[in-house]
């Protein structure tokens, strides 16, 4: 694994993300920023050559679904991060960056709002490390095992919150359904008006 830039350089870049990259991504007829166009420009700047519109088709979202907006906002933030001088000067990261933006942020978008990857130091570090790992790099001054451990520790925090809720779910579901079934057999409470 090659050595990349210092982690602090990347987290600082995230903290300084300009407002343009935080504007509303376009979904169907709503929003301002064409995420596909932003990614296409980025890939060119990273030395990827002219980009076929199909390559960035995944970022042209028409239907509003639960996590698509947060994912697109993360992609825009990721695009800002990957436009870092160090990556551009290397001139070889376009394919890995495309893969990272297409698939590397999907899971994260389910758990954490994109805003926190700008404002929260831990989330900035998580995003920076995810990016480096996706590009096959370790932060400058770290061994690969050390970098992997740190990323794992950061990533587990947010996921554990939802996973913990999921773990208790089955027992809770069974109990609640039993309670509701038992109540269904009883009378409820009188209403002055019935729907």
């Amino acid at each position: 694994m090659d050595s990349g830039p210092m982690i602090e350089a990347l987290t600082r870049r995230l903290a300084e993300c300009p407002p343009d990259f935080l504007r509303e991504p376009r979904i169907g007829g709503h929003g301002e920023i064409d995420t596909a166009a932003v990614v296409a420009d980025l890939l060119v700047d990273l030395g990827g050559g002219p980009v076929d519109r199909q390559q960035v088709g995944a970022f042209q979202v028409q239907i509003k679904e639960n996590h698509t907006r947060n994912w697109l906002r993360l992609v825009l933030l990721g695009a800002w991060l990957c436009h870092f001088d160090w990556f551009r000067q290397a001139g070889r990261f376009a394919p890995a960056v495309l893969r990272f933006l297409q698939g590397g942020l999907v899971e994260l978008s389910r758990f954490v709002s994109s805003d926190l990857f700008v404002t929260d130091p831990d989330r900035r570090e998580e995003m920076a490390r995810l990016c480096l790992a996706a590009l096959g790099l370790t932060p400058l001054g770290e061994r690969p095992g050390q970098a992997a451990d740190r990323l794992k520790a950061l990533g587990s925090v947010e996921r554990s919150r939802v996973i913990a809720a999921t773990r208790k779910k089955e027992a809770r579901a069974r109990k609640l359904r039993e309670e509701m079934a038992a109540q269904k057999a009883r009378e409820a409470a009188a209403k002055v008006n019935h729907e």
Partner: protein
């Protein structure tokens, strides 16, 4: 043998109505044992305790005093509750990432649907909620989803304050006292519960739910005597029940008639108003949300009834509908601790208007409300069948959703979507419906696993009739 306390009420009554007094129990018995009473088939109480009355008092003050027009975002009190929900309730944890900015991104909050409530209540009932006083209501309602809705008796009691508010908006301030009949709720169905009650939240005043059906009241003369003797302060009911009250020639002088469940047509409203010489108020409510809106006294649509509700009109993807176009009404807030509503799609449609209203109520108005159209079916012998009875029949089976159609020739087709892993018995469903529509009724049952799934262009219409619409 039952035991008694100071009120004279037996223990089983005290369990149902813990706050009943001696005067209340005497009133209950007067209704229950009235010589012209219907054939009661149900026993129920209000299940309220002293703290509930205090909570209803506080709620009453809020509802009367905190009325305001707030276009755009939900008010801060609702927003605070939503903020808590998205940190604790599994459905919202799953749908909203941590750090979601509610104020800035409200239009991006995913909507919830009746299907969520039907299929995964365990992800909606707050994990930390004390369920010791949980009660449930079941319904098959306007989208055809079989639904068991968890509720709290205190939330139901608050409906009384909302009724007082609506009556007050029409200049009526009924005095509730022991020994008087506050209200009678009327229905006209093949099957429904029929019971007497006294409400502790209304100072032990009486109440009865009755059904204009020969099985319940074989002699209409008795129904007339029951109403004239008890003289309810006001009468509530669905339009079919209210129309039947008129057809049975019930002589009563209520301060108001309050119509619920389905849309009240202008023709019926005017006839009722003329016949009973009182305001006829349309009241918009669903089982899941409770009361939502009431007809503006100045005729400007329906005012959102309570400041703890935020109502929006949305397009199919959840974006706000353009101001001049109707959208699906979605509700946030409410007062049911077991069913937090976050942009809950009601299946009904309308436009939201804000700004001053000649009636003086500053609360937003729902204009052109639709989706609650009255549908009636005919039995094999030509008598009316209420969709509520069809829903009640189908609820005996474990179904996720249904779509019932009666064609012009009287034949019926019901599409059913079974619950996962529970194969239905179409023959049993057919037999149950023939039981309702009468021998000789043609009923076809179609199992449709895809009903209501994945085709946003086609909303499931649970009840449709091609036979001529009733007057």
């Amino acid at each position: 043998m039952s035991e008694f306390n100071e009120s004279g009420a037996p223990l089983d009554r005290l369990e149902r109505s813990p706050l009943i007094t001696g005067a209340g129990y005497r009133m209950l018995r007067r209704i229950q044992e009235h010589p012209r009473a219907p054939r009661w088939n149900y026993v129920v109480g209000d299940r309220l305790v002293a703290e509930d009355l205090e909570a209803v008092d506080r709620f009453r003050r809020t509802v009367f005093e905190n009325r305001a027009s707030r276009p755009g975002l939900p008010p801060p009190e609702i927003m605070d509750r939503v903020r808590m929900w998205i940190e604790t309730i599994p459905l919202f944890l799953e749908r909203l990432p941590r750090g979601f900015d509610l104020e800035r991104d409200w239009v991006h909050v995913p909507t919830m649907s009746r299907e969520d409530v039907a299929v995964r209540p365990e992800d909606i009932v707050p994990p930390q909620a004390d369920r010791s006083r949980l009660i449930v209501y079941d319904t098959s309602g306007t989208t055809g989803h079989a639904l068991v809705v968890p509720f709290h008796p205190r939330a139901i009691a608050k409906n009384h304050a909302l009724m007082e508010l609506v009556l007050a908006r029409y200049g009526l301030r009924p005095e509730f006292k022991p020994g008087t009949m506050a209200c009678i709720n009327v229905a006209a169905r093949a099957h429904t519960v029929v019971y007497p009650m006294v409400f502790s939240v209304w100072n032990q005043a009486g109440f009865a739910k009755v059904n204009f059906h020969p099985r319940v009241w074989p002699d209409p003369q008795n129904a007339r005597g029951f109403f004239s003797d008890l003289a309810p302060g006001f009468v509530t009911g669905d339009p079919v029940g209210l129309a039947e009250m008129m057809r049975w020639d019930i002589e009563v002088r209520p301060a108001a008639l309050v119509s619920t469940a389905v849309e009240l047509g202008a023709g019926l409203r005017d006839r009722l108003a003329r016949r009973y010489g009182c305001p006829v108020i349309d009241w918009y409510s669903t089982t899941e949300t409770g009361p939502l809106a009431y007809a503006c006294p100045a005729g400007r649509g329906m005012h959102v009834i309570s400041p703890d509700l935020h109502v929006e009109a949305l397009d199919p993807e959840g974006w706000p509908a353009p101001e001049d176009q109707p959208g699906e009404l979605a509700v946030t807030g409410g007062r049911n601790p077991f069913l937090p509503l976050l942009r809950y799609r009601t299946g009904d449609f309308g436009r939201i208007e804000t700004g001053p209203c000649p009636c003086g109520d500053p609360m937003p108005r729902i204009m052109d409300l639709s989706g609650r159209g009255l549908v009636l079916f005919r039995a094999a012998d030509g008598s009316r069948v209420n969709p509520v009875d069809v829903g009640r029949t189908l609820r005996r089976f474990v179904l996720v959703q249904h779509e019932f159609l009666q064609r012009a020739d009287g034949s019926c087709r019901v599409k059913i979507r079974p619950a996962p892993g529970l194969p239905p018995d179409p023959e049993a469903v057919r037999d149950a419906l023939i039981d309702l529509f009468g021998a000789g009724a043609a009923v076809e049952v179609v199992v449709d696993e895809g009903l209501g799934r994945g085709d946003s262009d086609r909303k499931v219409v649970p009840y449709r009739s091609e036979i001529e619409a009733p007057d």
